[in-house]
């Protein structure tokens, strides 16, 4: 591992739980602002948050709207990885996802987490 810090943030809650869906984006936003490499991993209902048009519909009280956070995280270099079986089981394909989202399998998540400075699971 080099000197560059990396944070992996796993997201498992979807738009039905706005606060638990938004907190990982708030953390990711603060991390990219702090020059920390950020990888967000979406599993379970969390993968619905990177379906096109969904993030813009999620706002938790007293938090920045999720859509704007997602946009800023990507703008500042954050990576978005989504679980392949989770996407397939929800009838989604790459075309349905926010641009730049990468569909990956378990070993990629393991590689990202084990090479990170730290990881958070929501």
């Amino acid at each position: 591992m080099g000197d560059q810090e990396k944070l992996v943030i796993m997201v498992t809650h979807g738009p039905e739980e706005p606060e638990l869906a938004t907190i990982p984006f708030a953390m990711a936003g603060a991390a990219v602002a702090s020059d920390v490499d950020v990888v967000m991993g979406f599993q379970g209902d969390g993968c619905l948050l990177v379906k096109k048009g969904v993030a813009e519909t999620v706002t938790a009280p007293e938090f920045a709207p999720l859509g704007g956070l997602l946009e800023s995280i990507v703008e500042l270099g954050g990576q978005l990885l989504v679980c392949s079986p989770c996407v397939k089981s929800r009838g989604l394909s790459e075309d349905d996802l926010v641009e730049g989202t990468e569909i990956v399998a378990a070993a990629r998540f393991v590689a990202e987490i084990t090479s990170a400075t730290n990881s958070l699971v929501y």
Partner: protein, 88 residues
């Protein structure tokens, strides 16, 4: 680095850029500060306006981590003006 100036000293600063993040919730003001910092020169001062009372603490922690100089905060009617000098 943190160099806390009093409000009189802060009032003498000329900001290279003012970011109005009033109304934005956590971590919106911080993200706005991050984006704006890239648009000013090393040594210049960024002034961030926020109505979120935690922004000054968030920005102070952020500046300390990334290596900018947190200069202080001035209270204004209904919001705070947070000053940071770009140091790298």
């Amino acid at each position: 680095m943190t160099t806390i100036l009093n409000e009189t000293d802060l009032s003498t600063l000329t900001a290279a850029k003012i970011v109005d993040a009033r109304g934005a919730a956590c971590p919106g003001p911080l993200l706005e500060a991050k984006k704006a910092m890239g648009g000013i020169s090393v040594g210049d001062v960024l002034e961030l306006w926020s109505s979120d009372s935690q922004t000054k603490n968030d920005v102070a922690a952020w500046a300390g981590k990334v290596g900018h100089e947190f200069l202080g905060v001035a209270s204004t009617d209904g919001y705070e003006r947070v000053f940071v000098r770009r140091a790298k």
